[in-house]
Point group: C2
């Protein structure tokens, strides 16, 4: 392989040239014919050479050189709802990411995932190569149905639809439920990607002020009257970015307002496994006719294995299934098998317990470090990854984030989460990504600028 690559590199072989015959080259290199066949096959697989049937092997046409794709921070990018996503997802491996929304790779249950992959390598052919059924892997849907029952949620496996991700679940629901111009309520602040997603649907996005117990019920009621919303999207357990949990009373009142105005609620429950004590779920109180429940496994199991789910009423699931076939044909079949194998692995529950303890300790340490810099939590979360903090002296979070980015630290400035742009002095910190001392030095320096 190296000899052929060298000949191409030194232009002794040009694009379109025929390679030496297998037998001839084997003799020349003093190796067996099968060694040359394997080397040529690998070069074909790499796209360096091409096989023409019955005629031999030829140097492939030139193509773009293997370069490092454009990665790393773009400092000139506007601080909009895409800012954190793109800076975090595009970050170079050496960058620090206290602003990102996920755990460090070495905090995830990689041993169970490796075990599940080895197990899958022995699965039957159909599992490995066939399309999944329209609703998605039955055993995983049964498992999720039972797990939801533990939260007081009554969702039959047939009322669960597997999707490519939690985000795709919300996206499908928006396609199914809203038309351009429809009003959709979100929390202010809320997960920034809700805004990006709703913009893609050309929705009229209205923010409801968020408190430490959930949305401000008085404001919610007034906004429902004036804007006639079709949907409300929220997190019940461990709200992103604040870490707050919904109180039972707020849950009850929000559902009453929803009933009154025929408003559908999408409850995004992706942080459920981080809770020590489960917060009330809107769907447990309001049922699947009023509340659609979605989730995924990206935060606690793997973000590389894509799989999410929707729990909704029977009528909607049937329509959503047609939409899923039309827009994606089939679902995350092998990923669902992998997720299910990890979830039913006896070690997952213990992993989550250890993870919650580790996060609690890390949160205490991070809070102390931030307080030393004059950065204080605006809300005290029960659990989870996030600390939603106020910066000292009316410091502008976007300016701080830009300064930190030029020092290789990705932060999450408050206004990317705020539809009213009233969180300019706030910042979301992911405590699990705050282990490196350098982060605090960079922030300290940036604060002094």
């Amino acid at each position: 392989m190296n000899v052929i690559r060298d000949r191409i590199g030194t232009r002794n072989l040009l694009a379109g040239d025929r390679l030496p015959s297998i037998r001839g080259f084997a003799r020349q290199m003093k190796v067996s014919n099968s060694t040359v066949v394997e080397a040529y096959d690998r070069l074909v697989a790499e796209g360096v050479i091409q096989a023409r049937r019955g005629s031999g092997f030829y140097v492939a046409p030139h193509t773009a050189p293997l370069s490092i794709a454009r990665i790393g921070p773009k400092l000139d990018r506007a601080i909009d709802p895409f800012w954190v996503s793109r800076q975090s997802l595009d970050a170079r491996p050496d960058m620090l990411k206290p602003g990102c929304g996920w755990l460090p790779a070495d905090w995830m249950p990689e041993t169970a995932i490796r075990r599940a992959l080895r197990k899958l390598s022995r699965a039957d052919d159909a599992t490995l190569v066939d399309y999944g059924t329209p609703l998605g892997l039955a055993s995983l849907r049964h498992f999720l149905s039972r797990r939801m029952a533990g939260y007081g949620i009554d969702a039959h496996p047939d009322h669960l639809l597997l999707t490519e991700s939690g985000t795709q679940a919300i996206d499908m629901l928006c396609r199914f439920l809203i038309a351009p111009g429809d009003t959709v309520l979100v929390d202010d602040p809320c997960y920034f990607n809700f805004q990006a997603l709703l913009r893609a649907h050309r929705a009229n996005i209205v923010g409801v002020p968020f408190t430490e117990n959930g949305p401000d019920v008085g404001a919610f009621a007034r906004i429902a009257v004036t804007t006639k919303p079709r949907l409300y999207i929220t997190n019940s357990g461990l709200h992103n970015p604040t870490g707050a949990s919904l109180s039972p009373m707020v849950a009850h009142q929000v559902l009453n307002i929803a009933e009154q105005h025929d408003l559908i609620i999408i409850e995004d429950d992706i942080f459920a496994d981080f809770e020590n004590t489960p917060a009330p779920r809107l769907v447990a109180l309001g049922g699947l006719e009023r509340v659609i429940h979605i989730g995924s496994f990206s935060k606690t199991l793997s973000a590389s294995v894509r799989c999410g789910y929707i729990a909704a009423s029977a009528d909607w699931i049937d329509g959503l299934t047609d939409l899923k076939i039309a827009t994606g044909f089939s679902g995350p079949n092998l990923s669902a098998e992998l997720i299910f194998a990890v979830l039913k692995d006896g070690t997952y529950r213990k992993y989550m317990e250890t993870l919650r303890d580790r996060l609690a300790r890390t949160m205490t340490i991070t809070e102390t470090r931030l307080r030393n810099l004059g950065i204080t939590p605006a809300i005290n979360p029960d659990a989870g990854l996030f600390l939603w903090c106020r910066l000292p002296d009316h410091m502008d979070a976007a300016t701080l984030a830009r300064n930190a980015l030029s020092d290789g630290v990705v932060l999450a400035p408050g206004n990317v989460f705020s539809i009213s742009q009233t969180a300019g002095n706030l910042m979301r910190f992911n405590v699990a990504q705050c282990q490196d001392e350098r982060i605090f030095r960079v922030i300290e320096r940036a604060l002094e600028k």
Copy 2:
């Protein structure tokens, strides 16, 4: 585990009851404590019991019984563009599916997939658990860029975006390029899911009569003038359902019409690997400014591992990347790693050669068997899976499909592919799924009804 399950089944333990302590139950069962811990953990994972921190284990609330989800044919379903998808995807394992669009599981490269899974089980943590970059796995994009160069297509790896599937690629492009009411041209007949997808986008779908060399150029030109279309979606190599290949002259003329009317073409190339001699690609002639090229690996590698791609101009890729983040956050990271591992495995090329030979032999045999029943190909395909056939004596294909379905055979009647509903006497056969003699007996019986 069985003892606890029995006690719950016989109502000796009710929902909410506390389970025996680990130590007590271990003594009772004469096993070690760790055996009980493992059994309880597995029951927790199965959702049968729940762990409450510091308090022990409890029987989980009741939930839906583990039933076989509603599967199998729905005979009363309308024969619409979803008919074949749902009947094929929902088919019971014992059903025969000459109407489906994929290979039997045991024709797929399962050995290479198993090897790739074992390899992935030893990958680094980040590969297994982190979100992918916005464009998707760089090594796979470089590989695809080189492979496309072999078809004369000039697509830089940075102009390639990985998606969840080929269907999702087209879906994203429709969201990006068309508004409700825009006219989109498709071939008549065309892959039925194009219609389902375009209906989800509320597009005005217009069919262009399809010939054995591609679309009817005269009709195409007239329709372009009268309907001012925004998009044309087609397969260049081995068209679905006809198996026809685009001729160079038709390709050239279609591009000229597209230029003249500022029409964008989406070229869906998922059957590329089945070709013996590549047909001309519209994107090779027209470039990425005019033609967007998409593909996936569902047909030749695995439909269970979801991964597709889009090749488009730099401007569009940037906008599509934001759309991908907003609607799915990240892409098929682990699936892309798996696909790449199989593609670069030296055995894939040989597998495809063997597969093409096998398909060619099977096509000859199937054609003979169908001719014996008076069913004759309307087009002679160069390669691929499909035979697009005319039924004897103006027999109605939908009636035949319904009759065959009640005998456990899923067929693909012509009109599900035809926007003008002019293919009532035609039927698509997947030769790879026609190996079982019973299929021909069922068709023979159904023809006689």
